[in-house]
């Protein structure tokens, strides 16, 4: 032990501590410390305890993950309890199963009919889409006016009225699906409208 400066009068305390240590060690040496320790270690089992600790640490996380997974599966099953027909659109399949749905009759419809028969709750969206189509048509027209006739580039294909109506009606069919689903879950409805407006 290093030589060190100790406060005056500390020697008495040091002596007391030395006496305590000597007496305690005497008893300690007579005892069977190692044998007792060995018995305790044997009780724990060779390498068994750490594995139990690992399991205890992981168990809550695993249980939580399992419950989340199970809840997710249940929710998905509840929403899509029947698988879509092969090659079919999931919305179309769902809408066909809903009573009162007339089907996709846009082949027989004119733009005027669509505006007359439209769902008022979807008015803002369809109005917006019509505006969009009008704007696109104007842009297309102006572009074709400006484009030189023999520039060598491939001309942009123009959509026929039928094609445009097809796109518009598909969008409306999707929204009707969400509208029907609205009764079950208002949050989904809000989300779908917001999402569609964002896309538009």
């Amino acid at each position: 032990m290093e030589k060190e400066h100790k406060p005056d009068g500390f020697g008495e305390i040091e002596e007391t501590i030395r006496g305590e240590k000597d007496r305690a060690l005497e008893t300690f040496r007579k005892g069977n410390f190692s044998a007792r320790l060995e018995a305790k270690i044997r009780q724990i089992g060779e390498g068994g305890a750490p594995r139990i600790v690992w399991f205890r640490k992981l168990a809550p996380s695993l249980l939580g993950a399992f419950f989340l997974l199970a809840a997710g599966v249940l929710v998905i099953n509840r929403i899509f309890d029947k698988p879509p027909a092969k090659g079919g659109n999931i919305f179309e399949v769902y809408l066909r199963q809903v009573s009162g749905f007339q089907g996709f009759a846009y082949d027989k419809m004119t733009p005027g009919m669509i505006l007359e028969n439209r769902d008022t709750s979807l008015a803002p969206l369809s109005d917006k889409m019509i505006q969009l189509f009008e704007q696109a048509r104007k842009e297309q027209r102006s572009a074709s006016d400006l484009r030189p006739s023999d520039s060598g580039t491939k001309p942009t294909p123009r959509l026929t009225l039928k094609e445009r109506m097809e796109i518009l009606f598909r969008e409306q069919a999707i929204h009707r699906f969400f509208n029907l689903y609205h009764e079950k879950n208002k949050e989904v409805w809000k989300w779908s409208v917001n999402f569609s407006l964002y896309l538009v």
Binding site: M1, I13, I17, E20, K21, R23, T27, F28
Partner: protein
Amino acid sequence: MGVMVAEQGADRKDIFGDLLTHREQVFRICLGFAKNPQDAEELAQEAYLKAYKHRDSIKAPFSAKGWLLRIARNTCLDHQKKFLHIRPLSLEEAGEPADDCDIETRRARNEKLEMVKDAVEQLPRKLKEAFVLREYGELTYEEMSAALGTSLGTIMSRLNRARRAVMNLVKEASDGKRA
């Protein structure tokens, strides 16, 4: 690969066996924190069990002793926190082994020892661990520095303050008894 793992396992066992050679030092440290030798032995057992459970975390054999002493110190401090509300047995209550001293001498000695132990217990945690590791564990400054993770200067300063504080507390207690 299997042979290497088996060799590593055997090494760990050897290291743990080597650690058992420090059992008296571990016991002395525990004695510094405990109120009587019986509690100190229990604490030493607990420290060795912890060391056994975590023996895989021994990085190098040369640092194993410091690691063990740190475990012993932490075990004692945890124990003190847990059982703070329980009054420990005094030396007489714990049944100190009889020696060749007469009853009067033994009583005076125990009284003095109780005063010292009370004084150590009253020390702030950092001063207490420095005092116990040096006075009971008989660790060198370097070993203390490694065990406490502080510089030598800090260790020496803490030790000096702890010794003075113990002296003052013992003096106060002794004066109080006389009065």
